[in-house]
């Protein structure tokens, strides 16, 4: 099937008795890995329920894989996989039994269900332990089984609700790698929700940002993160001369060398990368001044920045939590380039 538009909504609105969970959401998503970003309560889970045809929209229309969500729910659910956010595994059943059962629930004949279960569990990285009751599994293994039951019937689209919840950094990286593979190797489109931005920009081709049920932005990850590359530079004070303002002099020297420099926070300078030689210029200039180079790392515009201005405007509780999460994603991301660039 050559449907490039995987999800399409037009003025989708969902009102509960008190709250409006989705407010005239109009969005179009192409095949690929799509990130659905929003704070807790932004309407992500509600949107997924509506897309699965489980909960009728108050207003507006939507299509999943070219099928109408209001009338063709069962057909959609046959072609879509869903990994819920919460725990959904009975502890006294083995992963194999459970996934086989779920495959049959998706309409696969018994023999095909067994075969696909073995394949899928292997792909998500569960081996001998798949015959043990799931009650004894680690969080990482449970997340893998949850992903496997969403993939077992070879859907055209999977909806993953917070797949990295509760995972440690290593487990999170593995899960993100797995999600990329689901699209790259398996050819299955992915809609993945999270409230952690940092991990999405590494995984997704396209980001949809919603807040309070409204669409904030929908565009490719590249356009979010920007094309200009920045270099963060931090230097020590002058070893002898206490009155020497290292940052000011360095800024002056680099500007003279034809680079654009601005300060970021107290001690960090952001230098726009003009090319490979920028690294050399910075290194030589610092050396020439007799300063110590503490930090030299590549930095991109981060998805988090699109929230930072907005978060200042309204000071709701939800946003504080949001900011906290930004900081988290930020740090995790920084660690990666820092190791590679400092030498």
């Amino acid at each position: 099937m050559t449907v490039s538009t995987v999800i399409k909504t037009d003025g989708l609105t969902k009102r509960f008795s008190r709250v409006t969970a989705l407010d005239r959401l109009t969005v179009e998503v192409e095949s690929g890995v799509v990130g659905l970003v929003g704070a807790n309560g932004a309407g992500k889970s509600t949107l997924i329920k509506i897309l699965l045809g489980l909960s009728p929209a108050t207003e507006g229309t939507g299509q999943v894989l070219g099928l109408d969500i209001a009338t063709q729910g069962p057909a959609i659910r046959e072609r879509v996989g869903y990994m819920p956010e919460h725990d959904c595994l009975p502890p006294d059943v083995s992963a194999t039994e459970f996934v086989v059962h779920m495959a049959r629930m998706s309409g696969l004949p018994a023999s095909a269900a067994r075969e696909r279960t073995a394949d899928t569990l292997r792909h998500v990285g569960l081996y001998e332990e798949r015959y043990r009751p799931m009650g004894g599994y680690s969080t990482g293994m449970k997340q893998r089984v949850k992903l496997a039951q969403a993939l077992v019937h070879d859907p055209q689209l999977v909806l993953l609700d917070e797949p990295t919840n509760g995972l440690d950094p290593v487990g999170r990286d593995e899960m993100l790698g797995l999600i990329r593979r689901v699209h790259a190797d398996f050819g299955i489109s992915v809609l993945v929700t999270t409230h952690l931005l940092g991990e999405l920009e590494r995984t997704c081709d396209h980001l949809v940002v919603i807040d309070g049920g409204k669409l904030l932005r929908s565009s490719s990850t590249a356009s979010f993160t920007g094309t200009t590359q920045l270099l963060a530079v931090e230097v020590t004070d002058h070893p002898v001369d206490r009155s020497f303002d290292a940052d000011a002099v360095l800024t002056e020297r680099l500007t003279a060398a034809g680079l654009t420099v601005r300060a970021d926070g107290s001690r960090i300078l952001l230098v726009e990368i003009a090319g490979e030689e920028t690294y050399d210029t910075v290194r030589d200039t610092v050396d020439d001044l007799g300063l110590g180079l503490v930090r030299l790392e590549q930095r991109r515009h981060r998805v988090a920045e699109i929230f930072s201005t907005r978060a200042d405007e309204d000071a709701e509780d939800a946003d504080h939590e949001h900011d906290h999460e930004h900081g988290h994603g930020h740090d995790a991301h920084r660690a990666v380039p820092a190791g590679g660039e400092q030498a």
Partner: protein, 298 residues
Amino acid sequence: MTTRSDAHGGVIHDIGYRPYTGPRLGRRYATRSLYVQSLRAAFGLGRSGRSKVLPFLLLGGMAAPSLAMLAIALFTQQKSMPMDYADYLASFSVLPQIFLAAQAPVLMSRDLRHHVVPLYFSRPATRGDYVAAKFAAMFSALLIVLALPLLLLFTGALLAEFPVGDNLVHLLYGLVAAVLYALLYSSIGLLIAALTPRRGFGVAAIMGLLMITRALAMITFALNRGYDPLRESDSSWAFLISPSTLVEALVNRLFSLGDGGSALLYAPGTGGALVFLVVLLALTAGGHALTLRRYRNV
């Protein structure tokens, strides 16, 4: 270097991802699969060995008296069965009740407790299909427990060369009773089980409801009747209070079983039997509807 896999002459090939191109059998197949899985689960099949103990103990406990009865009838060379088929179900009614109380939560509460229900609903089968499959599974499981001893009794009656026609008719009466018990019990049991994700609460609530209402029905009946046999008809409306007396009294009146003696429970007259039947069907349908309602927002 020789690795283990080389030594065995086998290599594991990563054949990559294979898309599924086979048939997708859709909603009705999924519902049927859920029915089979639930029916097996009701007897602990496909689950741990421990969970098989109780259902099979109850099934055996339900069948054993029928075998004993047969043995006695054969050895003492009796002319007819010591107990009628429907009466057998009434006499041992506590075993199917325990079966219901123990296994209805297995079907419903487990899915709720471990949040498996949303996974079902994100697949082709709908909420209605889910409830229908669970109901059919509980109904079938109860019917097996109830009908097995009746069939054993009938086989024995044939062996003992009791009159075949009479036995066949009474077997059918017994089976109708079994169906009515299974319908009403399943509906009530599943509704209660669906209300709580805690299995223990479900077991206690179902057992409590069946026992307490039965006691209430019998007490009300006895108090109203006093020692006046003429008031018996009026006071037997009390049998509406409990599911088990409801079915028992209805079946006995419907098929005019027994000799009209005081040992059996009867619905009040023909009109009464009709009311009993309507109440039974209404309770079954109502329980089913409420169970459906319970899953509307899951």
